[in-house]
Subunit: 336 residues, 2 copies
């Protein structure tokens, strides 16, 4: 019998750790590699290239409209792996739990991870749980690391960015940040403001099947679209020109931003991908994205330019040009 709350001994490596794994983790994640409960998973691979990524999740609150820390922990790392042009296959899960954490809530979070993993087509093959004393962590933090295989013929790299290429996004920006912020502060927001948290592995796979030549994929999470494009412009030593009127923003999200003084271009997304490719692929990319459930509102939002290198300019609705820098401070800590 599990107790109702997590005790320090659930992280001891001893009997209670064993019970926690058997009664909470295995029912949610069960698969042959994990079930062996060795010091890690042994996995067959074929030769080629793998993508490897890691992310820790500390989102506050743990449950929010459109998701929870468990779904986020799976989708976040699945998406980072997919951004390498890879098919995500395996995840690890590392939990840091606070003494006294409700076991029912943990069960709910791991169930949510299990569901997200099924949708993303990944298996959680290895894990670890630490328990720290009350006050040494805020409830639960989750790290996931992910592995995927990169199909032959796909090369996703900032080195492939060239002036003249198109920049796309697969839908509305800012939803995740506003949904989490609203929940955190008890605001009553329209029911349509939901986190966009979603696994993008399927969308990326279809995109790369349609257009293996895609130059870059990147998910605009913390720091938002503006910061991500700045990173790309800096790494590729190109300029980026964005079209403000083309950027998909829900009116209700824009309204919250206007009231509270947030800029949606700097808000975190958890189900968005920026795609950069030669303009000859434009129709195929838009068509592929728009026929996928996570790309219905896909748009061409900008162009790679030669100069000024390293800078991102926004052509505003009223015809001016605004320079978009990286996020300087932090609008919303613990957003993921």
């Amino acid at each position: 019998m599990m107790s109702e709350t997590i005790q320090l001994a659930h992280g001891s490596g001893g009997k209670l750790s064993h019970d926690l794994v058997q009664q909470i983790m295995l029912p949610a994640f069960s698969n042959p590699a994990l079930n062996l409960l060795h010091d890690g998973a042994q996995l067959p691979v074929s030769g080629g290239r793998i993508a490897f990524s890691t992310d820790s999740f500390v989102v506050k609150p743990r449950f929010f409209p459109g998701g929870d820390i468990g779904k986020l922990a799976v989708c976040g790392t699945v998406n980072d792996v997919a951004m390498n042009g890879a098919i995500p296959l395996y995840l690890s899960a590392g939990f840091i739990l606070e003494e006294g954490f409700p076991v029912d809530e943990l069960r709910q979070i791991v169930a949510s991870m299990g569901q997200a993993a099924i949708e993303a087509g990944v298996t959680i093959v290895t894990g670890d749980t630490k328990v720290v004393e009350k006050g040494a962590v805020d409830g639960i933090y989750i790290n996931t690391s992910g592995l995927g295989f990169i199909p032959e013929g796909v090369t996703i790299s900032p080195c492939r960015i060239k002036p003249g290429q198109d920049i796309f996004i697969n839908g509305y920006i800012g939803d995740h940040s506003i949904a989490v912020m609203g929940e955190r502060h008890g605001l009553t927001l329209p029911a349509t403001v939901l986190s966009d948290c979603a696994p993008l592995a399927g969308l990326v796979k279809e995109l790369l099947t349609a257009v293996p030549d895609i130059a870059l994929l990147r998910d605009p999470t913390r720091g938002g679209v503006a910061t991500t494009l700045n990173e790309i412009a800096g790494q590729a030593k190109v300029g980026i020109r964005m079209d403000e009127t083309a950027i998909p923003i829900r009116p209700e999200v824009q309204a919250v931003c206007d009231i509270l003084g947030f800029d949606p271009l700097y808000l975190a997304n958890e189900g968005k991908v920026i795609v950069i490719a030669e303009p000859c692929h434009r129709e195929k990319i838009l068509e592929t994205m728009r026929s996928h459930q996570y790309g219905v509102h896909a748009r061409l939002i900008g162009t790679v330019v030669a100069q000024p290198a390293g800078q991102v300019g926004l052509q505003t609705a009223i015809g001016g040009m605004r320079l978009l820098d990286m996020l300087a401070g932090d609008q919303l800590p613990r957003i993921c």
Copy 2:
């Protein structure tokens, strides 16, 4: 210029996150895969089997005789990967930092990770940093996940455990727990009581080169030798018979245990490996371990028996038989 303490914006994904990576992480970990700063690393692999493992580190205090949280974070995961019979190659590093954490201390910890990685022969190819508000984490927690390749002809699995096999350990047990506990409580312990924290990749590689037929490797970390052997006995459905007089324990560690009421068989180790193999390999295994710096005090400590299945018995110095169960509570939380 870095500030002297970590600010929330160092985890924003924006400019300060960028500075943190450029000024603190890259100098310590620099390698071609990490330097790309993409959403993960792209790595070449040859076909075969990989090992994948994860561990979070929450040790308290962060610095202790023989190591620190950084060295531990690298060695812990390197060792878990090696316990699959794999040559560890790549690590991820996920940091959760508390607002106000001293940047100098972070620099020291990542330098220690960098050094341990060099000794272990691994590169830190991808990472993530989150910052949470004061009080939401106790200073710094680190997750590492690791990847390694399993040489052909090596199969490490509890399924290969058979009655009659030898059980070895590569040296003194309990040192890590006692060193950390002593530092935590300000005890004055002999200078020889140091954490055994060490990367075992080299020792494991030499062992598997000498004896590819080894049946099982496992590191007795949390829960200690007694708990690890219970897990093995349960998974392999065999009995285990240990010889108390053969188990290497430093007299000074035994003395602290006697005074404070700890049982060294349940204390965590961070540089120990339990090796199980057919008795025909005995001399070669002992010779290989003893000629390695991390196996000088290697000993044959027990035997696999058929009955009672799932149980671990300890033949005591005075001739009795004591049943060793799994660790029930938690003697020393936050030991790793």
